[in-house]
Amino acid sequence: MRLHLEGEAAQGAFGGRLAQALAADWAAGWVVHLHGDLGTGKTTLVRGILRGLGHAGSVKSPTYTLIEPYEPGGRAVYHLDLYRLGDPEELEYLGLRDLLGAEGLILVEWPERAGTALPPADLEVRIAYAGEGRDLDIEGPGPRAAALIRALAC
């Protein structure tokens, strides 16, 4: 699905809706890839998702720390930013393999830096500049993604 969002507030609010849709099918876990240039608002969207799941504190950019864990309402959420990754092999240093076995939500900015070392996404979100606003494309393979997109479209 494609939608147009005007302004940071709209992007955050959409993150909240996305959070509800993800939470509705939580048990199997989600790996979400976030694509978009510097400044398109990937972290803003993640902040909206975390708020939607009930996280009240700050949501810092993980650019330097590479990974930031959260636990809103007892749900495990990992926010990764692979911008500074030089080689996919380095994911081992982040303990990524331990995360992937567990249930929860894994949000990955700059997933393309990891090549095939990351598992395939359950959901792909692409953010692009569109005038002052942003265009979001959301897609995913399989029936779970299709159901989530249908729920979002309502």
């Binding site: 950019s61 720390t65 030089g86 380095e90």
Partner: protein, 341 residues
């Protein structure tokens, strides 16, 4: 007591020796910036590998420079966090093992405490209590410092750190890594009157920072301006200038508030961004107007280095703190949980 300090939390391998009444006896920093520049960022694995390759020869080098043998070292301090876990493991394992082999105590040091205490290596050193602004690639924090290990977090960045905003904006401007100092250089040629960027979160009470929006604002301004006529290089310089002014001004406004709220007339600047000349000049003005003064370390001690780790470790070892065998590096480590001495 003479302490060997080892810093390996991120890009730099730093090694130094600090002693009672002797001060800083030797220090060396080996930067991996050249390796990272090829990738446009810090690479955790290369950083770790390089710490492994560099640390031991560097320890030999500083000990030779100081004219010391193993028996002359009375304690070892190593950075135990926060930072990249793979990089921290290297320094921790090395530091703890050396201390065990030499039969001396060891201590894991908090990287940001190292930065925060670095100005105490200079003359005149600030007296406690003071307000500290820690500004680096990963941190932007205001801290009320009552003494060593007595820290109260007053504010921090809600999203990007100031140094990260510098690096990302530099990238937007097409500058090489690491972008902060390059951006400051470019800003020198900029016209301060052409653009005025917002000062995030200064229009409301409170001390917290937010620099993510400034990056987007810079991007939008640059796109709009480069689409028009005019010299693109001059536009880049003018944008760099406006960005730097906005960050410096925002930090200055918050520091003034923190100084007034705490009543401490001393402001300490530390961390990589505190080497920025315009930031130092503005903070000097602010503190002069408040009837206080600013303290900051020499530029070599603003960026990551072993001297600050040796010094912070020396303070704690001297107070009788030490760690049992074993080491526990931590990627995340709130500074407020440190014990006082």
């Amino acid at each position: 007591m003479r302490v060997l300090g080892i810093e390996t939390s991120c890009d730099e391998t730093g090694v130094a020796i600090y002693g009672d009444g002797e001060g800083l006896l030797a220090h060396a920093v080996y930067s991996q910036i050249e390796i990272h520049a090829r990738y446009g960022g810090v690479v955790p694995e290369l950083a770790s590998r390089d710490h492994v390759r560099k640390a031991l020869p560097m320890i030999r080098q500083v000990m030779e420079e100081a004219g010391l043998a193993a028996g002359d070292i009375h304690g070892v301090a190593y950075t135990a966090g926060p930072g990249l876990i793979g990089a921290l493991l290297v320094g921790s394992a090395l530091g703890r093992s050396l201390a065990w082999a030499w039969g001396v105590p060891a201590i894991g040091v908090h990287h940001m405490e190292g930065h925060l205490l670095a100005p105490l290596l200079e003359e005149p050193a600030p007296e406690f209590p003071f307000v500290a602004l820690l500004v680096s690639g990963g941190h932007t924090q205001l801290i009320d410092v009552a003494g060593i290990g007595r820290y109260r977090l007053l504010a921090e960045s809600l999203d990007d750190a100031a140094g990260e905003a510098f690096d990302k904006t530099a990238k937007i401007l097409g500058l090489p890594y690491p972008g902060g100092p390059e951006l400051a250089k470019l800003a020198e040629q900029g016209d301060p009157g052409r653009f005025r960027f917002p000062r995030p979160m200064t229009d409301r009470p409170g001390l917290d920072f937010s620099f993510s929006g400034l990056k987007t604002f810079t991007l939008n301004t640059l796109r709009a301006e480069l689409a028009g006529d005019g010299d693109p290089q001059q536009t880049r310089a003018d944008v760099a200038r406006a960005f730097e002014e906005a960050v410096v001004d925002t930090l200055a406004i918050k520091c003034r508030r923190a100084v007034r709220e705490t009543g401490h007339p001393r402001l300490v600047l530390a961390g990589g961004v505190s080497a920025n000349r315009r930031l130092r000049a503005r903070m000097d003005e602010v503190m002069a107007a408040e009837g206080g003064r600013t303290y900051y370390p020499r530029p070599a001690l603003c960026t990551d280095n072993g001297a600050m780790i040796a010094f912070a470790g020396w303070q704690r070892l001297k107070a009788g703190q030490a760690e049992p065998l074993g080491f526990h590096p931590r990627a995340r480590w709130p500074m407020e949980t440190l014990p006082p001495i």
